[in-house]
Symmetry: C2
Subunit: 213 residues, 2 copies
DNA sequence: CCGCATCCCATGTGATACTG
DNA sequence: CAGTATCACATGGGATGCGG
């Protein structure tokens, strides 16, 4: 049960003993969005074997990172306060990895939670603070998210609602956020398709969410 | 050679594919201190098997995180610019794990590089900025480091030199940095032993390096 | 059906030995 | 010193089972 250790006494080593096992940090990532049921976690981690998911959940509990909580008759997993302190780590990790994302391979999918965390990682609060509040409807690879930016605050939720701009994109949206593709050319090339609302707001979106390689 | 993937297209997933394998982030941690030779890496990662070290070095090169560089007849490994961008990740990871460090187990050792990174993670630049420049000689678990604080700048090197305060400590130093033990009580309890210089500077050290649980 | 537990096999890991 | 080779073993992956 005790995670394999590294024989070293140090901060990074300790962190890796707690959340360094395969899949562990992805479970944490999804729980940073909100509490999740076992099945929801399994769905968000497309290819995790069920025995591994069960094992990780136990280990993360033993490590004090997550806990089981009964929510109105069903059991959900949620982060402990200490687990929530992993948010800067996951965001930094996500921002770093984002820059190395090329084109997706065929079997690679996008999940609502992974996309939410990518948007959080790319969010530039200081830029958004000086822009008008805006709601975007973003549809990427079968995932539809409602993205509300209000000053320096960002809220990403599933489902939809009233938006100022709705657009649909392939994974090429990654190149819009990286600055590799300008908003105009993203539309012209078909990488982003405008669905509803004011199309010029795509520029504002690209300013708000940006992670240069 | 290609790291096992997670079947998902996202920033965190991509990052884990690149540096998520066992030992990989520890290699990066040591290389963040400076270029290292193969043998130095092996010495800093006490129990890594040589075949694993060799495999990780190849994978990290293929991932564009590190590179081999010829330095005056010997080969050293160093981070690429992209690899160096992992510094915030490693620091955040180290700060998080530091808070979960209990007492060391018997077989756990402290290496110069791990201790250097822990000090960097615990360094509070904003606090140090308003304190006089100070040089500490810190000896912990057989590792001796020269710690120079100059305004908001921190420099940690091996070996020794002129210092304002030299002290020796067991791993209990961790409790000084966490605030669990006051400087006075650290000395009184023997957790920290003053060697040279002005003992009252230990309080300044504890203010400069702090990571509360 | 959800939340796991079991089984089996492929692969990665770890200790040791070995080579240029 | 800087790796490579080998082999036993632990872990991960995928399918399946099963109780509440």
């Amino acid at each position: 049960m005790a995670a394999r250790d590294y024989g070293e006494y140090g901060g990074v080593t300790r962190a890796l003993e707690l959340v360094g096992e395969r899949w562990a940090l992805l479970i944490v990532r999804d729980l940073l969005i909100g509490p999740r049921r076992y099945g929801e976690l399994a769905a968000g981690l497309p290819r995790i074997p069920s025995n591994i998911l069960a094992a990780r959940l136990k280990e993360l509990q033993a490590a004090g990172v997550i806990r089981r909580a009964p929510r109105s008759r069903v059991i959900v997993y949620e982060l402990t306060p200490y687990g929530r302190e992993l948010e800067p780590v996951v965001l930094a990790f996500g921002a770093w990895g984002f820059k190395a994302m090329g084109e997706p391979r065929d079997e690679q999918i996008i999940t609502p939670d992974s996309m939410t965390m990518d948007l959080r990682a790319a969010f530039r609060a200081s830029v958004a603070a000086s822009l008008p509040a805006t709601a975007y409807g973003a549809r990427v690879g079968g995932v539809e998210l409602l993205v509300r930016v209000n000053g320096a605050a960002l809220q990403v939720t599933r489902g939809d609602g009233p938006v100022d701009l709705a657009f649909s994109a392939g994974p090429g949206i990654h190149r819009l956020i990286s600055g590799e593709l300008s908003p105009d050319r993203a539309i012209a090339s078909g990488a982003v398709e405008l669905l509803r609302g004011r199309g010029e707001l795509l520029g504002r979106f690209a300013s708000t969410f940006h992670l240069a390689a």
